[in-house]
């Protein structure tokens, strides 16, 4: 907050004869300008957040040697993140595969293009992109928001302080199992999403009269690249890490009461989606 600006006309020392601004009780240099100050502060926000995020992960992985203490929590998180997300992920994947089949047939089917092209497009789309991204968006909303809300509530109700006061490493206990569970369970969900998505596309193609199962599979086999599922798995590992670590970060450093928890939850879901898209592009550009 800018409190006052003054000019000391009576000062004996000429160097003091500068217009001085006092911000939050501190005298600022003559270079001070509110716009420059505001811009600098705004630029420092992401830098500060990145620093705290790195520090949090450093502490979390520093707790690996005492992981046996946190093992029970890992199983719980694997159930929350993986098993409980399975139905919605499979539902979304099935519809993604089905819609991709219908739209591909709408766009590309003509007497000059063989129907196998539908399988050749739907299957790599699921393996390379849709399987991981659809799962990622669902997990960002479902798991990311849950993690941030859980940790945020623990922060504002002093439960995290209580863990620390007992002598427990709260970051090791709360963050590490969630991040590991995300990294382990995301590929499982991704594989399930791919199978269900391809299955959904194949069945809708067959029963909708767009492409018989045999031709769908022929197209899929013809254009199959062995690296595609490897790329999808790498992507799913990165997405699992991104979503859980960002959500943990947002939740762990929640400030304020219920409003702070709400803000952290929203930020966790939004930031997870944004960084998921950025990671998606970087991986595609570097690995494909």
């Amino acid at each position: 907050m800018i409190e006052r600006t003054y000019f000391d006309a009576d000062a004996e020392d000429e160097s003091a004869n500068l217009s001085l601004t006092v911000v939050n009780g501190r005298e600022q240099s003559f270079l001070y300008h509110p716009l420059l100050h505001y811009t600098t502060q705004m630029m420092m926000v992401p830098v500060g957040a990145l620093g705290r995020y790195s520090k949090l992960l450093f502490h979390a992985f520093g707790a690996l040697p005492e992981f046996s203490t946190y093992r029970d929590n890992l199983w719980r998180q694997m159930v929350h993140i993986g098993i409980e997300s399975m139905p919605i992920v499979m539902l979304a994947a099935a519809f993604s595969g089905a819609v991709t089949t219908v739209q591909t047939s709408y766009q590309l089917v003509s007497p000059l293009i063989p129907k196998t092209i539908i399988g050749a497009i739907v299957v790599p789309s699921m393996i390379l992109e849709l399987g991981a991204v659809v799962t990622g968006f669902i997990l960002a909303g479902r798991v990311g928001a849950r993690i941030a809300a859980e940790l945020g509530t623990m922060r504002v109700t002093e439960q995290i302080d209580a863990l620390e006061a007992m002598g427990l490493n709260s970051i090791g206990y709360l963050i590490l199992p969630r991040v590991i569970a995300g990294v382990v369970m995301f590929p499982v969900l991704y594989v399930a999403a791919c199978f269900v998505g391809i299955g959904g596309g194949m069945l809708v193609g067959h029963y909708g009269g767009f492409v018989p199962i045999g031709e769908f599979m022929d197209g899929a086999r013809e254009f199959f690249q062995p690296f595609d599922p490897v790329f999808g798995l790498i992507k799913s590992l990165v997405f699992g890490f991104t979503i859980t670590s960002i959500s943990c970060f947002k939740g762990y450093y929640t400030k304020g009461g219920a409003e702070g928890v709400g803000r952290a939850t929203t930020q966790a879901a939004v930031a997870s989606c944004v960084f998921l898209l950025i990671a998606d592009l970087i991986l595609a550009a570097t690995l494909l």
Partner: protein
């Protein structure tokens, strides 16, 4: 023994603690009193290293907790039991698991031994029949008592109480006061009670430390408190008495 020496603490540009020094002796019950926002809870968090001072030192049993590693600090913290203002019970666990949590985490006890200790602790706070209840099903006073049972489960040498009676009705406040006094007598622990409730202070404390505007304004025994001519302290005490009278 805990020694707090010349600690300063600011948040952003607001100085919350200014050159605060305090000695806490073995086995005593010390009340840290002051208005809301005077820095009492911040001082308490410095004692267990949840906050680091900008300058100054906190020494617990001769160990400067601001100079040791995080692993060593966690060992020092295990000699403390803390009752937080809202209880801070883990809401994903039932009452039994809350009290059992430190025992399962820090000891090699079998489940049978843990069960015995948990029910002993719940017996102390007169809540041995709520083991299966979730924290949300308990009243505010019961939550604090369960939190107190959890705080004493590892038989700490020091117990810190952050506003133990705030938000409670007078009868429940008296029950909490009696528990604090009972635990101090039974377990021979050093108790540090952060409060602005003078009724509590007068009934449980051996000594009081008064923080005013971030500074340690006055320390002394309860007898000294009664005889004090310090106007700032007396205004604070009288304001409480007036509230009690109302």
């Amino acid at each position: 023994m805990i020694n707090i020496k010349n600690i300063d603490k600011s948040f952003d540009d607001k100085m919350v603690l200014n050159d605060v020094s305090l000695d806490i002796y073995e086995g005593e019950t010390l009340a840290i009193i002051g208005r809301s926002g005077s820095g009492k809870s911040v001082l308490m968090k410095h004692i267990i290293g949840l906050l680091q001072p900008d300058s100054g030192h906190v020494t617990v049993d001769g160990i400067d907790i601001n100079k040791i590693s995080y692993a060593e600090l966690r060992r020092v913290r295990q000699s403390f039991g803390v009752l937080f203002q809202g209880g801070a019970l883990f809401d994903s666990m039932n009452t039994f698991d809350n009290v059992a949590f430190p025992l399962r985490t820090f000891t090699e006890m079998t489940e049978q031994e843990i069960e015995k200790v948990v029910y002993e602790c719940l017996e102390v706070v007169e809540l041995s029949d709520v083991g299966s209840k979730m924290p949300a099903e308990l009243s505010g006073g019961m939550q604090k008592r369960v939190a107190l049972a959890r705080a004493v489960a590892l038989k700490p040498r020091y117990i810190l109480y952050d506003e133990p009676t705030s938000g409670l009705d007078p009868e429940t406040s008296n029950t909490i006061d009696l528990l604090i006094k009972g635990l101090a007598d039974q377990l021979k622990v050093t108790s540090i009670v952060v409060t602005h409730d003078m009724h509590s202070v007068l009934s449980i404390a051996d000594r009081a430390a008064f923080i005013f505007e971030g500074r340690m304004h006055w320390t002394g025994t309860i007898d000294d408190l009664h005889a004090s001519t310090d106007t700032v302290l007396n205004d604070f005490v009288k304001a409480n008495e007036y509230k009690i009278g109302v």
